[in-house]
C-alpha cells in the first residue's frame, strides 16, 4: 500500500514537473535570467506549489500520525549554518549552469537525451562527494 501511494505520488509529481515547464532547461534558464530576457512564468510553479503546501500541511500536521506510517519523518534541524548556506549556494550555481534541479532532471530522462544521463551520473557523484565531505566536517 505504501509503495502504491509512493508510485502514484511520484507520477503526479512527474506530471506536475512536465506540465509546468520545469523539465525544459531553456525555460528554467530564461526564468533565472532576471537581468536579461527574463521569462517569469516559472515563478508560478513554486508559487502554486507553496500555496497548496502552506495551507494543507497545517491540517495534515495536526494529525497524530500519517495514515500509513507510525509517525511523521520531518527534519528537526533548525540551524542556519555554513553547511546549509554553502550547499544551497553551490546547488543554485549548478542549477544556473545547466537548468536542471534534481526532480526535473530525473523526469527528463524519458526525453532520451544522453546529456541528461550524464547530468544524473554527475549529480549522484556530487552527492557522494558531499557525503564524504560532510563526514569529514563531522569529525
Amino acid at each position: 500500500m505504501k509503495g502504491l501511494v509512493a508510485l502514484l505520488c511520484g507520477i503526479v509529481f512527474g506530471v506536475g514537473l512536465a506540465v509546468s515547464g520545469m523539465t525544459d532547461t531553456a525555460k528554467v534558464i530564461g526564468f533565472l535570467d532576471v537581468f536579461g530576457a527574463w521569462v517569469p512564468d516559472l515563478a508560478f510553479v513554486m508559487g502554486g506549489a507553496v500555496c497548496v503546501t502552506l495551507v494543507a500541511f497545517r491540517f495534515v500536521l495536526k494529525r497524530e500520525a500519517p495514515l500509513l506510517a507510525p509517525g511523521f519523518s520531518l527534519s528537526t534541524n533548525t540551524a542556519v549554518d555554513g553547511r546549509l548556506l554553502s550547499g544551497a549556494a553551490i546547488f543554485g550555481i549548478g542549477w544556473g549552469v545547466y537548468g536542471y534541479c534534481p526532480g526535473p532532471a530525473i523526469s527528463a530522462l524519458v526525453y532520451l537525451d544522453d546529456k541528461t544521463v550524464i547530468f544524473i551520473v554527475a549529480m549522484l557523484g556530487g552527492m557522494v562527494l558531499a557525503n564524504m565531505a560532510g563526514k569529514r566536517l563531522d569529525q
Binding site: G3, G14, D33, A49, G96, G103, A105, S107, G126
Partner: protein
C-alpha cells in the same frame, strides 16, 4: 491561455503530490533526499524507488496523452551537464535539500532554514545565469 497557466497548474499538482506524501507516508517530497535515500540503500527504501519510477512515468503519460511535444534538447555541451550535475548533487547533499524539499515542502511548513536555503539557491542561480549569459557571453 496565459503563459503562466501551465506553470501554475503544474505547481498546484506538485503541491498536491507533496501533501499526499505527507498525509499518507509522513514523508517530505524532497527529491534530493528521496534519491539519496534510495541510492545509499537506506532501510525500507522500496517506496523511494517507486516514487522515482513515478517521476519517469508521469511525464511520459502527460506528453503521450496530451500530445505535447518534448522540450527542445538543451543546446549546452556535455561538459556543462557534468559541471552542472556535480554542483547540483554536491550542493543539495551538503545543504540537505533542493527546490522541492526546501522550496515546496520546507517553506510549506514554515521552516526558516528552508526559506533561507531557497532564497540562497535562487540568488546564486540568477547570478550564475547573469555571469554566463551576460559577462562571459555563453549560451
Amino acid at each position: 491561455m496565459f503563459s503562466y497557466t501551465a506553470p501554475l497548474i503544474g505547481g498546484l499538482v506538485i503541491g498536491a503530490s507533496a501533501v499526499a506524501m505527507l498525509y499518507f507516508l509522513g514523508r517530505i517530497a524532497g527529491i534530493s533526499g528521496i534519491v539519496w535515500g534510495a541510492v545509499s540503500r537506506q532501510a525500507d527504501s522500496s517506496w523511494r524507488w517507486l516514487f522515482i519510477a513515478g517521476l519517469l512515468i508521469g511525464p511520459l503519460l502527460f506528453h503521450t496523452l496530451t500530445n505535447t511535444p518534448y522540450p527542445v534538447e538543451s543546446p549546452l555541451e556535455w561538459w556543462h551537464a557534468v559541471v552542472g550535475g556535480l554542483l547540483v548533487g554536491f550542493g543539495v547533499k551538503l545543504g540537505s535539500g533542493c527546490t522541492s524539499g526546501h522550496g515546496v515542502c520546507g517553506i510549506g511548513r514554515l521552516s526558516t532554514r528552508s526559506f533561507i536555503a531557497t532564497c540562497t539557491f535562487m540568488a546564486t542561480g540568477i547570478i550564475t545565469v547573469y555571469v554566463i549569459r551576460h559577462l562571459v557571453g555563453g549560451v
